[in-house]
Assembly symmetry: C2
Homo-oligomer: 161 residues x 2
């Protein structure tokens, strides 16, 4: 498999999973996108969830201008500062769906990121809430339901609180 | 169509076209990749064309380490300096296949790039040689054969000298 094949597989898995999750999301609760990047998955989320409130967390926004969320929905800064403030504001269990894609090429850094993020994610998710992640997480009060989604194993990880 | 859909379409068109061209390439002649980027299309080209000489032109190499061409095949610098030297060295008509993907988001800059690049490309291509391009080119001695390739119209452009 070439890197071109692999990029196509990764983006296709991402799309399939966003489609899967947005068709199953509970009618109540906020949607969170961790990492705006170039705004592709945010654009997909908002097209699939018209009218839903989608909050985006990004350290250094650099997306295509069409894909920048309206002001109150873009939270600029490090997620480890922004998420605790967010939980204070909206309360534990405020989120119906969280998509996290803030990993880099550095596997050790990603592992540490996941460890630090895990308690915040558990705090955010409502019962039945879904987490989509670009890597595995250890979440005591969530169930790994990746295999229920039909997305190729190891490409993306899905948890239900 | 979301930006995620559109990215998948673009990469898929790129892969289909590289597969189309590499299965039709003439047995003689060099392969040129203008723009290494993250190395995805270079990786695909080399996997489809084992044993062929593939020259890559890149102003500022920043690809994944696995996707950096071996030293004599990576020509670092501006294509407008590197290509004339290349033609001096290997002669007119040295190339069987050229893939060019050096456009940016700036449409006016891309138009100018294409105008400056056109005479160099015509000079490089052997009779029957193929040009794959991320945008349209005006090439007096080439035929636009994009519609023969089956790739969605307007996604990619193909010319035969
Ligand atoms: C891979 S990109 C996201 C791509 C996006 N999902 C898409 O498909 O377009 C990761 C993004 O996460 C951001 N990021 C990484 N670590 C972060 C952190 N600790 N806090 C906030 N943003 C972060 C980076 O700046 C980058 O834009
Ligand atoms: Ni635009
Ligand atoms: Ni690697």
């Amino acid at each position: 498999m070439t890197r071109l094949d692999s990029a196509i597989r990764r983006l296709t898995a991402q799309r399939d999973l966003l489609d899967w999750a947005t068709s199953r999301i509970s009618p109540q609760g906020l949607v969170l996108e961790l990492g705006l990047g170039n705004g592709r998955t945010y654009d997909h989320l908002r097209s699939r969830l018209p009218g839903r409130e989608i909050y985006v967390f990004e350290r250094s926004p650099a997306a295509h201008p069409d894909c920048i969320p309206p002001d109150p929905y873009l939270l600029v800064g490090d997620v480890f500062e922004a998420l605790p403030r967010f939980i204070e504001r909206f309360g534990s269990g405020c989120a119906a769906l969280v998509h996290t894609d803030i990993g880099s090429g550095d596997e050790e850094a990603n592992r540490q990121l996941a460890r630090r993020l895990a308690p915040l994610l558990e705090n955010l998710l409502q019962p039945g809430g879904l987490l989509l992640a670009d890597r595995a997480f250890e979440l005591a009060c969530c169930k790994d339901i990746s295999s229920e989604t039909g997305v190729a194993e190891g490409r993306y990880f899905v948890y239900r609180r």
